[in-house]
Amino acid sequence: MKRTIFNSQLLPWLLLAPQLAITFVFFLWPAAQAIRQSFLRQDAFGIRTTFVGFENFQRLLNSPEYLNSLQVTAVFAVSVTLLSMGFALLLAVAVDRMIRSSRIYTTALVWPYAVAPAVAGILWWFIFNPTVGIMPYMLGQLGYNWNHISNPGDAMTLVVIASAWKQISYNFLFFLAGLQAIPNSLREAAAIDGAGPVRRFFDITFPLLSPTTFFLLVVNIVYAMFDTFAVIDTTTRGGPAQATNILVYKVYFDGFVGQNMGSSAAQSVFLMLIVTVLTVIQFRFIEKKVAY
């Protein structure tokens, strides 16, 4: 790689300044505020403030609701990731085998990615609405009484489907690109050796896709944990009985609805730690070990 040499110290800093300013104002400053707030106890209007040390964190770790939220988040993130990556891989393999119409299918499959999460949430909320939705009606014909308003399992299914559906497009694009980068000669060689399509997929294609798969794994977990707020907010609002109250939604609810800034800030700090760990995993293990 070519190294650019700057003659003075000033110019590179100047060029970096806008990005640094944005990072500082929108990321570092709020993060510092959250950390500060997490050690304080404050009334809603910010009139009385007391330093309470680690009390906010202690309360969280002793709170069954928070532990429940952790568990819910884990179930949710794993389900969304598996569902969206599984479907995306299936579709990518199918499109990869097409010759003529692959472009049209690619475009059609990428479409949902352009839909805003809130809109996706509302869409699925309509489809699954127990009173007016089409799915509960069809499930009712099959003898299943769908009600995500009172049934925690149904509610979780709904938010997982709504969140995974949107992410399929993104995963599909990466998987397709990954598949097209695999030299055909390898698969042909395997075919000549007598490996069937299933064997070829699992022994040749899938291992060669592993960099893409690992990358998407991290991206999807991050997506499920942090970008699904709008889906939850428009469908279940964390209910019923906290069955879909993921960590991000709980931060919002406790902080903005409940006005409990200290606890909300402490939860943000925990979230920050989780993001940090995920980022480290991505850079340490994936970017380095897996060559593209």
């Binding site: 009334d43 809603a44 209007f45 308003i149 009172s150 609002r237 009985a241 609810f253 006005q259 409990n260």
Partner: protein
């Protein structure tokens, strides 16, 4: 062309000058749709009635969103002069000494001839301190009532003119409705928290919490796990299992109204302010109104129901001129015509006796059956310590806990006693935190 723009420039400057001379105050509110249009009309009429002050309403979303926005604005020193806060935010607002200007104080300092005795005690009682001083200005107050489908009642062989008076009757009627096939479900309800728990307690003269339901101070605690409440929740669970009762979902119960409109459930408990919407959606059948049912073997029932809705709070940090504007606006709001014009179409309660009398005089209650049910129910008896209202900090979250525990009970994970015990334990934990934050 040039002349045109000169004239318009002069006009613009002139209008700016005119606007400058007025004192403008912002009013943040949570009334969308039809109600929002009515509210803007109220502000417009006030602005047209004089030229010294201007009130600028702006819609900030749902009740919790509006309250959050105002609090965030206060922290950033950008607060409006007036903000509409729902009744469960009262505890939080009251405790915020230094952030609010109590209405009685505002009116003493800036208002002309303000007489707190003109208000209906059942309405303002919710918003007064222990010395009887009014802290916020009631604007839209409602109370839950019972709506029922006369057509289904008739088909089930029931007297369509006789709504259920007691829960025992309601159960028996629901059963008859279901068994006769007139409708697949007996009854549904909005707001498990507000209607089936808080109002249920007040209506049966049972305490919601210690210290006069929280009015006495920050050290009050919830006592919702009393015998009467446990019995009622237990019944609701049993009725839900039998199909007599259909749960409408958490918070306001979004799925309850469609079930009533589609004639699936014959009886519906909802806010009196839902009246206009209910009438508009039930043209397909005859609609009846009634008071909330009660258990006739619980002593003290029926007592009186309590209100919901919102009041206007005045935030601190504004100039004397702005407070004079707010005082003038509040004065305007209490005028009988203004009140009656607001309350009649919306289904909210009139907040002054004079407004109530004016509506009666105009024949509004005579011509609109059911419209008076709410006010009769709220004034049925002199309020007791248990039926004045409630005032706890962090109550928005506690409402959420009530919904969650109710859902746990419905799913069979807990019985009524365990669910309500848990409401009390989790709720009191939040109240303790609130007390610590505000001391």
């Amino acid at each position: 062309m040039i002349r045109y723009s000169t004239i318009s420039a002069i006009a613009l400057i002139a209008s700016l000058g005119a606007a400058k001379a007025q004192t403008t105050v912002e009013w943040w509110h949570a009334m969308g749709g039809e109600l929002g249009a009515k509210l803007e009309q109220v502000a417009q009429n006030f602005n047209d009635s004089q030229d010294e002050f201007r009130v600028m309403p702006s819609y900030k979303g749902t009740y919790p969103e509006t309250m959050t926005a105002a609090i965030a604005a206060f922290r950033a020193n950008q607060q409006p002069a007036i903000v509409q806060v729902f009744e469960v935010g009262t505890g939080t607002m009251m405790a915020a000494e230094g952030a609010i200007v109590p209405v009685y104080q505002l009116m003493e300092e800036h208002g002309e001839e303000f007489d707190p005795s003109i208000f209906l005690p059942q309405v303002v009682g919710y918003y007064t301190d222990t010395n009887g001083n009014m802290l916020s200005m009631p604007f839209n107050s409602s109370t839950p009532i019972l709506y029922y489908n006369k057509t289904v009642f008739e088909a089930a062989g029931l007297d369509p003119e006789q709504p259920p008076r007691t829960w025992q009757e309601l159960e028996q009627m629901s059963r008859q409705i279901m068994e006769s096939g007139a409708a697949p479900c007996g009854f549904t309800s909005q707001w498990i928290s507000w209607i089936q728990t808080e109002n249920f307690s007040a209506w049966h003269n049972q305490p919601i919490g210690t210290g006069e339901n929280g009015f006495a101070g920050l050290d009050s605690r919830l006592t919702l796990n009393g015998e009467a409440q446990v019995r009622h929740w237990g019944n609701l669970k049993q009725w839900a299992d039998e199909g007599l009762f259909r749960y409408g979902g958490p918070v306001g119960g979004d799925n309850a109204p469609p079930a009533f409109y589609a004639q699936e459930c014959a009886i519906y408990m909802a806010s009196s302010a839902a009246r206009a919407g209910v009438i508009a959606n039930t043209e397909a059948f005859d609609l009846g109104f009634g008071m909330l049912p009660y258990y006739d073997d619980i002593e003290g029932a029926p007592q009186n129901s309590i209100i919901g809705g919102a009041t206007l709070w005045v935030l601190s940090g504004k100039s004397d001129d702005e407070y004079r504007a707010v005082a003038a606006f509040f004065d305007y709001l209490t005028q009988p015509e203004v009140q009656a014009d607001w309350a009649e179409p919306t289904g909210y309660l009139p907040i002054t006796q004079a407004a109530y009398d004016l509506s009666t005089e105009r024949g509004f209650y005579a011509n609109n059956p059911g419209a008076e049910t709410s006010i009769q129910q709220i004034t049925l008896n002199e309020p007791t310590e248990n039926s004045k209202g409630l005032r706890f900090g962090n109550y928005v979250q506690i409402r959420g806990i009530i919904d969650e525990e109710f859902e746990q009970m419905l799913s069979g994970a807990k019985d009524a006693q365990a669910a309500l015990d848990s409401v009390v334990a989790r709720g009191n934990d939040l109240i303790e935190q609130f007390q610590a934050q505000n001391q």
